[in-house]
């Protein structure tokens, strides 16, 4: 799975989710937060699962998929976010290099990513805030079809 691209901590001005009581003019100061991205959930990895990311060399990933395909009859390529493009690229290149003997089956899914918001002043926050966002993932099964 691709790691979230550039998990740089950025300062985010964020209003704490304190419900202001109705009818009062309570001013809540925006607190400064630091965003930290958490790694996405890793599915249990069988021998023939390949997770694709943007950091490793493309040729190296292609070679690894090719070797696994020779060993097993089918492999499953997973990619998250920007790595969807790369996963598709790899699958298609595998198919062309096998001269059409391989078949592909692709599924997409949504993965929930969690971010931790760390307040600058840790004594003030009531509890650590987490924010979730959704990202799309693709799972491509590459296999030799049974005759």
């Amino acid at each position: 799975m691709a790691e979230p691209r550039s998990p740089v901590s950025a300062s985010v001005a964020h209003n704490p989710m304190v419900p202001a009581p109705e009818g009062s003019t309570l001013e809540v100061d925006p607190m400064e937060f630091t965003l930290r991205k958490r790694l996405p959930r890793k599915l249990p990895k069988r021998r023939n699962d390949v997770y694709v990311n943007m950091k490793t060399d493309f040729k190296a990933q292609l070679a690894r998929c090719q070797k696994l395909l020779d060993a097993h009859r089918e492999i499953c390529i997973h990619g998250l976010g920007l790595a969807i493009n790369r996963a598709i690229n790899i699958a298609l290149q595998l198919q062309t290099s096998s001269q059409g003997a391989l078949q592909l089956a692709a599924n997409t899914s949504t993965v929930e990513l969690i971010d931790d918001l760390e307040p600058d002043d840790p004594d003030e926050a009531a509890e650590p805030l987490t924010r979730t966002r959704n990202n799309s993932a693709i799972h491509i099964k590459v296999f030799y079809p049974n005759p």
């Binding site: 550039s6 998990p7 901590s9 890793k42 599915l43 969690i114 840790p122 004594d123 003030e124 650590p128």
Partner: protein
């Protein structure tokens, strides 16, 4: 000129007095050789004056006796000690000496026979005496009986304490005595890569019971007020951090001397609050510190909480003297064996030292819980799988808090569904009560694998990952002293267990847990690498906290699940791969760090001196001023001077030499971190001379902890130099991205001529060949590139795939350097090993 003859003469004359002269009056004493009465003197007579003197008219007996007493003593001494060979055999001329005369005295002429016989008797008597003086030790079987072995172990532990798993480690690890503990250093088998793989993909186990635990009890506001003086908000979460205060998370903090931030750093500490009990108003806090820091932190805590009255003293549990004389022990006597093996006190305080302190004013009590709690650390993404395999929640619930136990059990079962330890929020705490893990010990060793089927999407699992464990589930009976002691005493011995196993109807089936006490424990999640951008959450794991006495009962079942075991060496590497400073190696401003550095310097120097002189690296020729010890104070002072000179800010407030500090304030680190990267549109603060000067003013003379990553070839070594590149070096890199870097010209060894002379008595500390003698010349400008700092941990990093180093560099130096660099190449430095002349390019990153 010393020939053989003169040497023999020296040897014979060594007992003779050197400066006895006798005048020609003939009355003096000389050798027994007879009276050569012409004023023969021994010893140098300056001037060569005449020897003869006039005879005195009268002498006083007492004066005469006193003057001659010394000479008489000398003569007696000379006569009584036969120098060199035996005079009996020397009295014979050479042609009459025979080989067999040493043992057959009949070969000697009769006048010499008695002397020879006397000699023979004397040597025989000496031999007998030596033989008799050997103590007769007991037979090996007697020495190795169980009771005697335990007494022997207790005796050996008086100086250096043993951990509970000592014997297991001693058979498989090289042990080292440090901080008055005997700790495992590294395995005897070659297993560095295997341990790294275990940390990366499976699990690694370590015994960390030598960390000291201090417990504070009292009212919350008083404790927070007292502890706020020891920490500072600028370095991150303090003791009052809201997530940790509820007891749901463990926190880590840097301790300083009271009110002295940023000077006076003591070291890092982990802390854990007990979750709030609904009725009680008092709270409990555990602070875990390294044993090297313990005395300093304890005195600071006492100062800050005003706890001076010591309440109770640690008892010495004497070894049990009664033995069962060989018969099988009955079950009711199993307690008597325990005391002989129990540790006498612990390694950081003498037995009999106070253990609890109370304060007359505040309600705070400090207790010292060192070695009361066993701590095991599991590192790796499958650590939770190992734990769920080994631990079984107690089948019979404790009488009170049934529902709590059920909730904790549920959370524990949920852990199976988690795929990697890194998915949980860092620092969450789970309390649990489990059965004795020895009951479910597998027959053979195996390796825990994750359960592939059980990854169900569950709402509760999602909550667990989002918010961690709820605060009330972190409660555990481990916090109560009485509960701990009860559990320690009610432990079954190995003999008992084996007897139960032999009585089983079906051999090999699971032992039943009826009637056995359940063990309360705490599981604390460790976050791994939380700062920086790469390899987040690497090295996360779980800590297991157990009551005293249960160490081996949990260790063996854990090992049977296929974990690798690591020692101190592996924990240093763990910190290195996570990019975090390791205590005490990487804390140069703490007193414990200073002590460690001086010890390390002595060790490295000894190792250096052991090599033959022609095979040693000549650090002078390599231009390396500090291969063994890094002079941080000198570095920071020189950088301050340089920067002040360049900005012509003479009126800057340099109030004498203040001690350097390590920059830990998060805001300053964030700014520096942004400035050491090539600018992207995300970076908000711009780097100008004014802002840099402002930051420098704020920090004072300080060092910053950086991570260096080599761009190409190179493996950084310990104490490699970090240097600032010149503009021509950067141009070189622009032209050729794979260039290897500039080279340092070889220096001249100006101390060579000093070594050519023989030992001059007025120079007591002779310089070691190849090393600069103290005081060092200017550290900054000794080489062709300005020195920024030194590497404290450097190696080829298996995780990154290139050489990585962790170093301290001076803040003023860093700012000075990056101000002069073009924007795209900001953050590039040069790295040079102490035994090499080649500079390598590296990129700095400050992880925040």
């Amino acid at each position: 000129m010393t020939g053989a003859k003169d040497r023999m003469r020296e040897k014979k004359m060594k007992n003779q007095p050197r400066n006895v002269t006798y005048t020609s009056s003939g009355r003096g004493t000389g050798r027994g050789q007879g009276s050569q009465a012409c004023g023969w003197v021994r010893g140098h007579q300056p001037g060569g004056h005449s020897y003869s003197q006039d005879l005195p008219k009268y002498i006083t007996a007492s004066y005469f006796a006193k003057a001659r007493a010394a000479e008489v003593n000398a003569m007696l001494k000379a006569v009584s000690k036969p120098a060199g060979s035996c005079h009996v055999f020397n009295a014979l001329p050479n042609h009459m000496r025979r080989r067999a005369m040493s043992h057959n005295t009949k070969r000697l002429p009769s006048r010499l026979r008695e002397g020879a016989q006397r000699l023979a008797e004397r040597s025989q008597r000496a031999a007998e005496k030596e033989k008799k003086q050997l103590p007769r030790s007991r037979s090996r079987r007697a020495r190795r009986r169980h009771g005697n072995l335990l007494l022997e172990f207790n005796r050996r532990q008086r100086k250096n304490k043993w951990l509970e798993t000592h014997i297991w480690h001693a058979k498989r690890f090289h042990m080292q005595k440090m901080w008055s503990y005997c700790l495992p250093l590294k395995p005897t088998a070659k297993s560095f890569r295997a341990s790294y793989r275990a940390m990366n993909t499976h699990a690694l186990l370590q015994d960390l019971s030598y960390f000291c635990c201090l417990e504070l009890q009292g009212s919350e506001e008083q404790m927070l007020r007292a502890l706020a003086r020891l920490t500072s908000k600028q370095t991150g979460p303090t003791f009052a951090a809201a997530s940790c205060l509820s007891g749901a998370r463990q926190g880590s903090v840097h301790l300083y001397k009271a009110d002295q931030f940023p000077q006076g750093c003591l070291g890092p500490a982990d802390f854990l609050w007990r979750p709030r009990v609904p009725d009680a108003s008092d709270r409990q806090l555990w602070i875990w510190i390294h044993p090297d820091l313990k005395q300093e932190v304890l005195s600071e805590l006492q100062l800050v909480c005003q706890c001076s009255v010591s309440v109770s003293v640690s008892e010495e549990s004497g070894p049990a003297v009664e033995r069962s004389a060989g018969r099988k022990r009955k079950r009711d006597e199993d307690d008597a064996e325990e005391p002989s093996k129990r540790l006498l006190g612990d390694g950081t305080r003498p037995a009999g030292a106070p253990v609890r302190w109370q304060s007359p004013d505040t309600t705070i009590t400090i207790s010292d819980l060192t070695m009361e709690i066993v701590r095991y650390r599991l590192i790796g993404p499958l650590a939770h799988v190992v734990l769920t395999d080994t631990l079984q929640p107690a089948s019979e619930e404790p009488s009170d808090a049934v529902s709590l136990h059920q909730q904790q059990t549920e959370v524990f079962q949920l852990l199976r569904g988690v795929c990697s330890t890194a998915e949980l929020p860092a620092g969450c705490v789970l309390g649990l009560t489990v059965d004795d893990p020895r009951l479910t010990l597998p027959q053979k060793r195996g390796k825990s694998v994750p359960d592939l089927q059980q990854s169900a999407e569950d709402d509760r699992l999602r909550d667990l990952r989002l918010t961690g464990v709820a605060a009330h589930c972190s409660q555990s009976a481990l916090w109560d002293t009485s509960a701990r002691e009860r559990v320690t005493h009610s432990r079954l011995s190995e003999q008992e267990l084996n007897r139960m196993r032999s009585e089983l109807l079906v051999p090999g089936s699971r032992l039943s847990a009826d009637g056995q006490a359940a063990v309360p424990l705490l599981l604390v999640h460790q976050g791994g690498r939380v700062r920086g951008e790469e390899r987040l959450h690497w090295g996360s794991g779980w800590d297991l906290l157990l009551p005293k006495g249960w160490g081996m009962a949990f260790w063996v079942p854990l090992v049977y699940r296929g974990v690798r075991v690591g020692g101190l060496h592996m924990s240093v590497k763990h910190s290195q791969f996570m990019g975090q400073p390791h205590f005490p190696h990487d804390y140069p401003d703490c007193p414990a760090g200073v002590r460690f550095q001086s010890e390390q310097e002595a060790e490295l120097l000894e190792k250096f001196k052991r090599r033959p002189p022609s095979k040693r690296t000549n650090y002078i020729k390599h231009g390396c001023l500090a291969p063994f010890c890094c002079p941080w104070q000198q570095l920071t002072e020189e950088w301050e001077e340089l920067v002040n000179l360049s900005t012509e800010n003479v009126s800057c407030c340099r109030t004498g030499a203040s001690d350097f500090t390590v920059l830990r304030s998060l805001k300053a680190l964030r700014r520096l971190s942004a400035w050491t990267r090539p600018p992207s549109r995300r970076n908000s603060s711009t780097l100008t001379h004014a802002t840099a000067a402002a930051l420098q003013q704020e920090c004072g003379p300080s060092l910053v902890w950086v991570r260096l990553r080599l761009l190409g070839k190179g493996q950084p070594a310990l104490h490699a130099m970090v240097c600032a590149p010149t503009t021509s070096d950067l141009q070189l890199l622009l032209q050729d991205a794979h260039s290897s870097g500039p080279q340092e010209p070889r220096h001249k060894d100006h101390l060579k001529h000093l070594r050519q002379h023989k030992t001059s008595p007025e120079e007591p500390a002779r310089a070691v060949r190849g090393v600069f003698p103290a005081p060092l010349p200017s550290v900054l400008s000794h080489c062709s590139r300005l020195t920024l700092g030194w590497v404290t941990q450097g190696d080829f990093s298996l995780a990154a795939g290139c050489g990585e180093a962790l170093a301290f560099i001076s803040v003023s130096g860093l700012l000075h350097t990056i101000l002069q660099q073009p924007q795209e190449q900001r953050g590039l430095v040069l790295l040079r090993n102490p035994s090499s002349l080649q500079y390598r390019f590296a990129r700095i990153s400050i992880d925040v």
